[in-house]
């Protein structure tokens, strides 16, 4: 169905956190935009009508942190396959990290991602440009040209921006273009060689740990540099309770810091690494129950702004290795909503509107993206969710090219049944 045909979503529970709306309403989409939200809306001539009674209509989910492997490792993921997986997971927009091969560190490379996204015509793929040329941590990449080509943020994710001077310069320069600098917070001299959280489980397994302090030190540094420069720092995939305390204090002081957390850091601990399960190997590592509790609390009260998947595809044989030798990361686009919904909403920690706020409205606000709202006139990026749907994770059914997930076989509740980008249906279950 294309955007020229009006679409009426009838009788759903409309949740729009951008307007604190939660009511049984109809949503009319015309010309790629939200045309009206109200009771008893009539269908214009030629409109398609979907009866979504009993389902939830919400602004499409937005993911600030995914790794697509194009260019470089197209066997693991492409822009198109990632956008397809995103649509299946209820995401209407995702932000692609620049640690491709070669690195997305110039306007031509950024433009390539934009064109591939357009060709795919699925979820929107917003490129993130590199902070430094080749992500080498030495010289700034050309933020201005990358922004004009479509970059929505800059990051050296996969690695931290190690040199404090470079981070300072990046924050100042990014201010010029109104974009955030997203940092992977890790002190490399503390984390070096580590493969999981430093704690009792690592001690028992004989694996080298990454202490929480490796993250917390960089979080503190980034906060201080944001204060110094007035630049917007976005802290990727927070994992440690100490980081939460630092961000809380920074926000109280009005510093321009935002932060994200992954579904897995909200739901799993380092005990998932027992049996040397390489699908529980990620960076930052899964930490302790007290960290999970602190991260949940921080997300609930807005100290952490949003959920991001850190979708990191890897070929099956890369994870089929000894724990030390396997790469970090798991896929998440097709499980993110359901994992968070099952553990947090069904689990009674969050309300569904809370969750949609943290997966749609807030991430869109943090990176200044279209979407995240059902306000009339906004782009018609919409998801219809079946909050009661029960399903079991089967990686073979993923649209992603990679299957590296720790949630295989997990019984989950809730999934996207209809994903609409700019008025066009890109996924329907």
């Amino acid at each position: 169905m294309n955007a020229s045909v009006p679409l009426l979503l009838q009788g759903g529970r409309v949740i729009d956190p951008s307007r604190d709306l939660d009511d049984a309403l109809d949503v009319l989409i015309q010309d790629g935009k939200i045309s009206a939200v109200g009771r008893g809306l009539g269908a214009p001539d030629g409109a398609a009508v979907r009866n979504v009674t009993g389902k939830v209509v919400a602004p499409g989910l937005v993911d600030l942190h995914v790794h697509l492997r194009e260019p470089g490792n197209e066997d693991e993921e492409t822009v198109a396959s990632g956008a397809r997986a995103a649509a299946a997971g209820g995401f209407t927009a995702i932000c692609a990290m620049p640690n491709t091969d070669p690195v997305t560190d110039n306007q031509a490379a950024v433009g390539f991602i934009v064109r591939q996204s357009g060709r795919a015509g699925l979820a929107r793929v917003h490129p993130i440009g590199a902070v430094s040329i080749g992500q080498k941590g030495e010289r700034l990449a050309e933020f201005g040209e990358m922004v004009s080509a479509g970059a929505v943020a800059v990051s050296d994710d996969g690695k931290p921006v190690v040199a404090s001077h470079l981070m300072r310069t990046a924050l100042e320069y990014a201010r010029t273009f109104g974009i955030p600098v997203a940092d992977h917070c890790e002190d490399p001299s503390l984390a070096s060689g580590g493969v999981m959280h430093e704690g009792l489980v690592a001690t028992r397994l004989g694996l080298k740990g990454i202490p929480s302090a490796a993250e917390e030190i960089m979080v503190a540094r980034d906060v201080l540099l944001s204060e110094l420069t007035g630049g917007h720092v976005h802290l990727c995939h927070m994992s440690a309770r100490g980081s939460v305390a630092i961000i809380r204090e920074a926000k109280d002081r009005g510093i321009r810091v935002t932060a994200e957390v992954t579904p897995h850091h909200l739901t799993l601990t380092d005990y998932a690494c027992e049996e040397y399960d390489t699908h529980a190997k990620m960076n930052p590592p899964l930490r302790e129950a007290a960290d999970v509790a602190a991260l949940r609390g921080a997300l609930k009260d807005g100290v952490i702004d949003c959920i991001a998947s850190d979708h990191a595809p890897h070929a099956y044989d890369e994870k089929e290795a000894a724990f030390d030798d396997a790469p970090f990361g798991i896929v998440g686009l097709e499980t993110a909503f359901a994992v968070a919904h099952t553990e947090l909403v069904v689990g009674g920690v969050f309300t569904l509107p809370d969750l949609i706020r943290r997966m749609s409205t807030e991430p869109a606000r943090v990176f200044h993206l279209p979407g995240g709202t059902l306000a009339p006139g906004a782009v018609a990026d919409v998801v219809v969710l079946d909050a009661a749907a029960k399903w079991t994770v089967d990686p073979n059914a993923f649209h992603s090219k990679s299957h590296n997930t720790p949630f295989t076989g997990r019984a989950l509740t809730g999934r996207a049944i209809l994903t609409i980008v700019a008025g066009t249906i890109v996924h329907e279950l």
């Binding site: 430093e198 704690g199 009792l200 690592a202 001690t203 028992r204 397994l205 004989g206 694996l207 080298k208 740990g209 202490p211 049996e275 040397y276 044989d317 089929e320 290795a321 000894a322 724990f323 030390d324 030798d325």
Partner: protein, 320 residues
């Protein structure tokens, strides 16, 4: 072919005290085999065992090989250098190729923690861990337990202190599990830079000073200090390590007891242990090596499905 020990021996953490005692008891009759002029019994005749060593090893590899040969198994040694492993073959491919050759057992040493479990989960043959990364070295701990039992007549209630680089030591981890399961009190002693996080939560006492450990212990198991630890900055110098943590006769003299001295080898004389201690009257370091063969014979025999009460008979009836 699941034995009373299970299919594999990957570590002591998940074994029961009964299983550990069974191995020690089974080792007793096998000790005598090595004292015979003809050191061979037919227990594993026709079995094929691969010794797969991805890390350099002299003592452990030779000990396993003697154990296998004295049980009449056919053995093949594969070392990482000079094999397809050094050509980039993955561990899983190595495993599959071994399996395709229809072997019965693999003894594996590997620099990655968990490598033995990884292999055991993927092949039908019995897998014996001869040391995986910093995780476990179960047969070393078993031979340590046997040596302690020989010397003291018991393990329960003894105070055993592991001295030195606990952080990087698979020997320490396996000893910790084995000793606590058999009722010993366990302590560790060394600089905090070489202590793993959360070690206190595993039910061990931590001594920061060797003098305290010596005052407390019945047995000191002195771990090897890898020389590269200094290069990586865990300790400032070997000289200072010896001065602060070295096990010396002068320090031992202050103990009211004669402390049994153990070392898994290879020793750095004059670093973690003084030569006069290593060669002294309370050292059981060479007994450990002797017991290593018997313990490994017991493990191989039991994993192959042998029954403990038949171990005497399995020797070929030569002991009566």
């Amino acid at each position: 072919m699941t034995s009373i020990l299970g299919k594999d021996l990957t570590g002591l953490e998940h074994m029961t005290p009964e299983q550990i005692r069974l191995i020690l008891d089974t080792a007793e009759p096998f000790k005598e085999v090595s004292e015979r002029p003809i050191k061979k019994v037919p227990a594993l005749r026709g079995k094929t065992i691969v010794n797969l060593f991805f890390e350099a090893s002299t003592r452990t590899r030779i000990s396993f090989e003697f154990a296998e040969k004295r049980l009449s198994a056919d053995t093949v040694n594969v070392a990482a250098s000079g094999s397809s492993v050094s050509k980039g073959e993955t561990l899983v491919d190595t495993a599959r190729n071994l399996e395709a050759m229809r072997i019965d057992m693999v003894v594996i040493r590997h620099p990655s923690s968990g490598a033995a479990e990884f292999l055991g989960d993927r092949i039908a043959s019995n897998v014996i861990n001869a040391g995986d990364g910093k995780h476990e070295h179960p047969t070393q701990a078993l031979l340590d337990l046997l040596t302690i039992r020989d010397k003291h007549g018991k393990i329960e209630g003894l105070k055993v202190c592991l001295v030195g680089d606990v952080l990087h030591s698979r020997v320490a981890r396996s000893n910790l599990w084995g000793l606590t399961k058999l009722g010993a009190e366990v302590a560790v002693c060394g600089p905090w830079t070489l202590m793993p996080r959360g070690i206190e939560e595993l039910g061990v006492t931590v001594f920061g000073r060797i003098e305290e450990a010596i005052e407390w212990a019945d047995v000191l198991n002195v771990l090897r200090l890898q020389l590269e630890r200094m290069e990586k900055g865990f300790i400032p110098s070997l000289r200072e390590y010896y001065r602060v943590f070295g096990v010396t006769p002068e320090r031992l003299e202050r103990s009211p007891r004669s402390i049994t001295i153990m070392h898994p080898g290879p020793m750095n004389r004059g670093v973690e242990i003084d030569s006069r201690v290593a060669d002294g009257p309370h050292s059981v370091i060479l007994d450990q090596v002797t017991n290593g063969v018997a313990v490994r014979m017991a493990v191989l025999y039991l994993l192959a499905g042998g029954r403990a009460e038949l171990a005497d008979a399995a020797k070929g009836g030569g002991s009566e």
